[in-house]
């Protein structure tokens, strides 16, 4: 044990104690929210939630159409948005690190990060919905994709910039082409951070209501045609939670529990698959 002065020991203890307190505070907030979700949502968690359609007030029903619609649009949104964000982030960090284009894209991207999602919804509404003449699941997925892009691009760039250049130089010295350096070295080194970015993006779009209302609308019935108005869990939660009927409010809380549990499970899965570093 090195002998620290008393002052240094105290400040060390104080700051470490504070960071311990910070973690405790974060956990308390989480428990507060999860407890409310469980308390209100678990009573409605019956098999029928996953097998029946959203009911009118006063009838039994479930959330199947909403869950299905949400899964399809979220996955589609991620599949469209994530590669674009990833590649754009790669451009900014690797190929075009010093280009003027990067500066412009980076700024626009950062501004769009904080764009209220309803504005993205309105943009997609103007570009897609009014052109096609009707609301559709595809429009919803595109709106979600546009929310994914800035988050993924930002985190990808940040994480790639943190990869030490010596790694790239070593790989290049071995004769690897630039693309391989990026794929095999930079991506590998930045993977946990990139996965975090993808999770943040997923978490963000999994609960978006505003951009879906003017693009996918919603659907009371079972529908697999993405060219039709498509149901989504957040929209249903939004409508049902603010309704006067207890059975609808119950379904809203149960839906909220389902979304949160899904995000939790996916985070765990992605973490254990996508990263070994955070475990250290």
């Amino acid at each position: 044990m090195p002998s620290y002065s008393k002052k240094r020991r105290t400040s060390n203890a104080v700051f470490l104690g504070l960071s311990f307190g910070a973690a405790a505070l974060g956990l308390v907030a989480l428990v507060f929210i999860l407890a409310a979700l469980l308390w209100n949502g678990i009573a409605g968690l019956k098999p029928s939630v996953f097998t029946e359609m959203t009911p009118p007030p006063g009838s039994a029903g479930g959330l199947l159409n909403a869950i299905y619609g949400s899964v399809v649009m979220t996955v589609l949104g991620l599949l469209i948005g994530a590669p674009i964000g990833l590649l754009a982030g790669t451009y900014m960090a690797e190929h075009g690190r010093y280009s003027k284009l990067t500066i412009v894209v980076r700024f626009l991207n950062d501004i769009l990060l904080s764009a209220p999602s309803i504005i993205i919804g309105l943009f997609v509404y103007e570009v897609v919905v009014t052109r096609l003449g009707h609301f559709s699941g595809v429009a919803g997925a595109l709106a979600l994709a546009m929310l994914v892009i800035p988050v993924v691009a930002r985190t990808t760039e940040d994480m790639l910039l943190l990869v030490p250049n010596t790694l790239r130089e070593a790989a290049s010295a071995m004769g690897l082409p630039r693309s391989h350096v990026v794929w095999k070295v930079a991506y590998a080194a930045a993977r946990p951070g990139i996965v975090t970015g993808l999770l943040l993006a997923f978490a963000r779009i999994s609960g978006e209501t505003a951009p879906l209302l003017f693009t996918a609308l919603n659907n009371q019935f079972w529908n697999t045609d993405l060219n039709q108005p498509t149901a989504s869990l957040p929209t249903v939660i939004f409508q049902f939670a603010l309704s006067p009927y207890k059975d609808w409010q119950q379904l809203a809380w149960t839906g909220a529990l389902i979304i949160t549990a899904t995000v939790l499970l996916l985070s765990i899965a992605a973490r254990s698959l996508g990263s070994t570093r955070t475990a250290k």
Binding site: P56, P57, V75, I80, H134, N227, A241, L242, P244
Partner: protein
């Protein structure tokens, strides 16, 4: 590896999306008023079971409903604030009332139970103007001789979001109070002189229930389902009425629909000894010359089914069905206005 998977999946998704876009034309969808959403959901569910036709209605707000029908992205729109005749004609639209309901003041006062407190329009306006500040104000005391009123400060709770309920409520206050009309006016969102904004009817109900001395306004179903303390109101004829299905119906029955151009009729402050003064209706808006005649015909078929068979379901959810004589009037007018190729798309009679 993962990148390859993502790239491949993205390709598949694009193909999927492209394929979906080329699929069949739009189904029957409607959007707008939040007020009518539960009863439309109920009707659509029963109608789908009876006929197999799905009518997908979504609550995006009355203003949204008007915008969407004008933009032709839905088969029909629904709004709590009717469009003026000129607006209808300019946009080739037709509207008619589909359902009615009551808006009720709710309070949270120690020792005051539902139906005990009586308010009139002028006092309600003064409370929402902030000129009447405490519950034992002489203006309130005068209307409630037998009630022991606390000294509590009044906390006004209004909607924070734009809303058809607010439109009808402020329309009523504008009709009964010149002061309100001049300083605040009527709209789906107004510049509230005082008070606290809460999200949605449910938010207002929640805040009134949690705050001592609060007063708010909600659709009747919210007051009933949340067991809130409602007040009685002095109506147009000077009679004191309680909020109930009878008094809402009375306001609807006494309204003069026949002479309302384009069915422009707001049901607040209607005559009749029994009439509840803050009654509202939701209007359906459609194109006279629809882009998809078949979808419009299906929608009209659904509406006439609802007028005929939907009354019980509506009443169970605390809505007031449109009186039969008004339905006949609607059938006659709508029939001759929604045309395709020179012929009415559907015979509502």
């Amino acid at each position: 590896m993962t990148m390859k998977v993502i790239a491949r999946a993205a390709l598949a998704a694009t193909v999927l999306a492209a394929g979906a876009l080329s699929a069949r034309a739009a189904d029957i969808s409607g959007a707008g008023s939040t007020f009518i959403y539960p009863v439309f959901a109920k009707w659509a569910d029963t109608y789908k079971k009876d006929t197999g036709t799905g009518i997908n209605y979504q609550s995006i707000g009355s203003g949204g409903g008007i915008k969407q029908i004008k933009a032709n992205t839905v088969t029909f729109g629904a709004t709590d604030a009717p469009l003026m005749e000129k607006d209808l004609n300019d946009n080739g639209l037709v509207q008619w009332p589909m359902i009615m309901g009551g808006i009720v003041p709710v309070v949270n006062l120690d020792g005051v139970k539902a139906g005990e407190l009586v308010l009139d329009g002028d006092t309600l306006a003064k409370i929402f103007m902030g000129t009447v500040k405490t519950w034992n104000d002489p203006a309130i005391a005068k209307l409630n001789p037998g009630v022991k009123l606390p000294e509590t400060a009044i906390v006004v709770v209004h909607r924070s979001d734009g809303s058809g309920t607010t439109f009808n409520f402020t329309n009523y206050l504008s009709k009964v109070s010149a002061d309100w009309k001049g300083k605040v006016g009527e709209n789906s969102a107004v510049e509230w002189p005082v008070g606290l904004g809460a999200k949605g009817n449910e938010g207002v109900a929640q805040n009134v229930a949690n705050t001592k001395g609060a007063v708010g306004y909600v659709e009747y179903a919210y007051a009933k389902q949340n067991n809130l303390v409602t007040t009685k109101m002095v109506n147009h004829d000077g009679k004191t009425v309680a909020p109930a299905m009878d008094s809402f119906s009375s306001a609807a029955a006494n309204a003069d629909w026949e002479h309302a151009p384009g069915f422009y009729q707001i049901l607040t402050d209607q005559p009749g000894a029994q009439s509840w003064p803050i009654t509202a209706s939701t209007f359906v808006v459609m194109h006279k010359d629809p882009k998809d005649a078949a979808a419009s015909a299906e929608a009209l078929k659904f509406f006439s089914w609802a007028f005929k068979n939907g009354q019980k379901e509506a009443e169970a959810l605390d809505y007031i069905p449109i009186p039969q004589k008004v339905v006949t009037l609607i059938a006659a007018k709508v029939d001759s206005s929604i045309m395709s190729g020179g012929k009415p798309v559907y015979d509502m009679k």
